[in-house]
Amino acid sequence: MLALALCAGCKHPTSSAPALKPTASGTAIVLVGGDKQLGSPGSRLSQPLQFQVNDNLGNAVTGAEVEITGPKGVIFDPAQVLTDENGQATFKVRLGGISGRYELTASSRDAHGKPFSLTVAEFAAGYQEQVGYEVNEKYCSRCHDQDSTVTQVSNYDNLAVKPHSFSNGDVYNKITASDLATIITHGGPAINRSALMPPYGWTLNKAETQAVIAYIRLVSDPPYVAPGVVYAKH
């Protein structure tokens, strides 16, 4: 009874949307764009999330149903859609109210009703991670990111020793927080790395250094798992 009442109270865009009638089906979902965005908790991501459904020859399929699901609190607009004439499905995403990594799964079914899906990640930055993002944008990204923008040209190609992108979890997840703090504070040579990595200990304060570390941990892919705590399964 209670559950029923509760359910009636909450908005479920999924259940209220009229059932879609797929006219075709594919065999694979590929990402078109909009993953790994950084937003603030509870906010809509600036870019929509876009997928494409392909058949087994790799051609885009129009009219296949794609449904998107995610953790509690995430709101999709729409939650299901048929792929358009380019075989693409586009979802606006509003993140949940708590900070952290959000894994969202787009799924569809093939001609035999067998499901297939693709999971992507988005990030909600809390206050500290947001500060870390700003620090990264201002000081770090020109060397650590390969991509240039109109207003910010990447310096990556000019460096004799190449730094890694902060989202490179394979590298960063192996560096302890204290080593990260050391190299950021005292520069590359402090942990036997290149002097091309400058020291920031007299430019950033401790809170900003911790913030950029928190940001590195947030955007890491594969995701960062804090050591030492054994989590129970619930």
Binding site: S40, G42, Y127, Q128, V131, D157, Y200, A214, A232, H234
Partner: protein, 686 residues
């Protein structure tokens, strides 16, 4: 049957009559009643959460620590000075446990790190809600008089804004929202007084309409009034949802009200009749003059490219009259004394080139379907009434129409507006954020007689503006004054004398800041006189070339005369000096080769400066920082030395890292850099 009944009755009689039995029964009932209270307590919501928490943590690696920290019962933070009695931790048991940071299950997640301690501020100052409540419903959802529901997470930055009036690194949405309130002129109609008594100021300066008939046509005004966004998607002018006849009457009034300005009529002698010999020359001059630093145009892909300090120019040819355009470009301040457009010293030939180039930027569709009949006296009079009704003079100077005072409601405390005072649209969520964002998004939906116009804002911008409005709370006025972090007071610095006049005509402060006043697009010039060498500055002003090859916004060439650049140079070298050292305390030349060599080594190995700077363009590649090939002919030695020692002290906010150099190292690097006087191959040895 009969016997049974009598049996029951007799036993009842026995109980009632026998005082001992009676006592027993009554006590039993009493006892039962007494257990109701503890049972209710045991079954209360918050105890349920505490029991769930204990189960939740029991299998974790940190269970022992967490259990040791656990305190059953009502937990509260009590801070009398702030009027805080927050019992939220009663259910949010793990809020202070750092090891629960990545828990997704509420109410057990740790609070994410913020610069404040929970015990010093409590919860409701930021999250709203009823701190003293002990049920979820009362704490989170009450909308009774004097109570407020929890603030949705996406507006949480508004709470920082109750004390912090400066932009914070961690609150981009709040910062953006505040900028919007100023940039879109919201504060021209709505007064917003801050706790320190200052009022928010507009940063948008709409043009005066005194001579509007010289500038544009009635047809353009009509089409613009009907939908400013159709002309320019970045226009800050809102849409007043005017009917065709109202737009027609207003345009008639503005044309009739406009007085001619003789200067606008004098077009150039070689007026742009003859097309320029080289059709690309206008575009080149537009590029060389770096007009795009401030003005955007749409490129072929339909994207806007360029700055937002000045209006978009994609279709400017549809808007302005040729004679006016020439007069404007010759002396913008003549038409609009408050404009931020510099007075370039273009020659007549250059003016004609640019004018021809800009007049070709048209969108005939914009005015194609506008056919206006000549207006009657009544229509013009009605146009004036409409101008007054819509508060046009709140933003624009209009002859004969005084600027209305307090045209819109005062918003200084709008973030605490009680829900009972609000009228919601059918189907709308009953909350203050929903109301505020609804008002911004669809102002006229709340009543046809409302005057608030509709702004062309994205949903992210609406959310940001709502966040900024929500920060304007009663609490921001009642919190202890020592918690307030005021914004830096506005400086009204203007350079003085002959140089001051020159700088005002060049509008240097549109892009540069000096002594706290001015723009942020270009470097702060407050200490420029300590930084650069005189000869370099003089030739740079005459013929600026960029120091940073990757910048798209650059110092334009103003075509200064020799006399003008000398006046400016003298003034800058004298008036804009840092008090922290003496400019000429170190020589410009004469450093020993050994010291220079030591500096070179430090530059390339120990400090790896080449990752961001170029000294020898054949070898070095870094281009985040300025090119240093001729730095010895540009900067003063003392400036380099002190800048290396503490970059942020001389250029607040610079991204040059402070490398904590010893005096010896800084000295050697200075010697090496002073040896870079430009010319080929003077930098690094191969």
């Amino acid at each position: 049957m009969q016997t049974k009944k009598t049996g029951f009755l007799s036993s009842l009689k026995a109980i009632v009559c026998d005082p001992f039995t009676m006592f027993g029964v009554v006590s039993a009932i009493l006892l039962l009643l007494l257990t109701v209270a503890p049972a209710k307590d045991y079954l209360s919501e918050w105890r349920g959460y505490q029991r769930q928490y204990l189960t939740f943590i029991q299998n974790r690696g940190d269970a022992v620590t967490l259990r040791r920290h656990f305190q059953g019962g009502i937990n509260q933070i009590w801070i009398p000075q702030l009027d805080v009695v927050d019992r939220c931790q009663t259910c949010h048991v793990g809020v202070g446990e750092a090891s629960l940071a990545d828990v997704k299950q509420q109410p057990f997640r740790a609070h994410p790190p913020i610069p404040h301690k929970l015990t010093e501020f409590g919860c409701v100052i930021c999250h709203r809600g009823q701190g003293a409540a002990t049920t979820v419903n009362q704490a989170h959802h009450s909308d009774m008089t004097g109570e407020e529901p929890i603030l949705p997470a996406r507006y949480i930055e508004s709470s920082c804004g109750q004390c912090h009036h400066e932009p914070l690194e961690g609150t981009p949405k709040l910062n953006q929202g505040r900028t919007l309130l100023s940039r879109y002129g919201c504060v021209n109609c709505h007064t917003i007084t801050l706790p320190d008594g200052s009022t928010m100021q507009a940063t948008d300066f709409p043009p005066p309409l005194t001579h509007i008939a010289d500038k544009t046509t009635r047809e353009w005004i009509y089409a613009w009034l009907k939908d400013p966004a159709a002309y320019s998607s970045t226009a800050t002018m809102p849409n007043f949802m005017l009917s065709d006849s109202d737009a027609s009457d207003i345009s008639a009034f503005l044309m009739a009200d406009s007085t001619p300005d003789p200067a606008d009529r004098i077009s150039s002698p070689a007026a742009s009749k003859t097309p320029p010999a080289d059709p690309t020359a206008g575009a080149s001059l537009y590029g060389e003059s770096f007009c795009a630093s401030c003005h955007a145009t749409q490129n072929e892909a339909g994207n806007l490219v360029g700055g937002t300090l000045g209006p978009e120019l994609t279709n400017v040819g549809t808007k302005v009259k040729p004679a006016w355009l020439l007069a404007w470009m010759r002396d913008p301040k003549h038409y609009d004394p408050a404009t931020r457009m510099p007075q370039y010293r273009w020659t007549d030939a250059q003016l004609n080139l640019l004018a021809a180039f800009l007049e070709n930027k048209t969108d005939p569709d914009f005015v194609a379907n506008v056919h206006l009949q000549p207006a009657t006296k009544q229509q013009i009079a009605h146009g004036k009434e409409l101008v007054m009704e819509n508060g046009c003079a709140s933003c624009h100077e209009i002859p004969g129409v005084p600027k209305p005072e307090n045209f819109g409601p005062n918003l200084s405390r709008v973030g605490s507006k009680p829900l009972v005072q609000l009228i919601f649209l059918p189907g709308m969520e009953h909350s203050l954020p929903a109301y505020l964002s609804g008002k911004i998004r669809q102002p006229r939906a709340f009543g046809a007689s409302l005057r608030m116009p509709k702004f062309n804002l994205s949903s992210a911008q609406v959310e940001a503006a709502t966040t900024a409005l929500l920060s304007l709370t009663d609490r921001s006025f009642s919190l202890p004054a020592n918690l307030q972090v005021p914004s830096t007071p506005q400086s009204h610095y203007e350079p003085a004398g002959q140089a001051g006049q020159l700088m005002s005509s060049l509008n240097c402060l549109s892009c540069h800041s000096i002594n706290g006043h001015g723009g942020t697009m270009a470097p702060d010039l407050s200490w420029e006189g300590s930084s650069v060498q005189r000869t370099w500055l003089e030739s740079f002003l005459k013929n600026p070339n960029t120091l940073r090859p990757t910048l798209i916004r650059r110092m334009p060439k103003f075509n200064l005369t020799d006399a003008e650049s000398t006046v400016l140079t003298d003034y800058i070298m004298t008036a804009y000096q840092t008090p922290s050292f003496v400019r000429d305390e170190m020589p410009l030349t004469g450093y020993s080769p050994a010291l220079i060599e030591k500096g070179r080594e430090l530059f390339y190995s120990r400090y790896a400066c080449q990752s961001c700077h170029m000294v020898n363009p054949n070898v070095d590649k870094g281009y985040i920082g300025p090119t240093l090939t001729d730095v010895g002919a540009r900067l003063n030695a003392a400036w380099i030395f002190h800048y290396l020692k503490d970059p942020q002290a001389l250029r607040p906010g610079t991204i040059e890292p402070n490398q904590h150099l010893s005096d010896d190292d800084a000295n050697a690097l200075t010697a090496f850099l002073m040896a870079q006087k430009g010319g080929a191959g003077q930098g690094a040895k191969q």
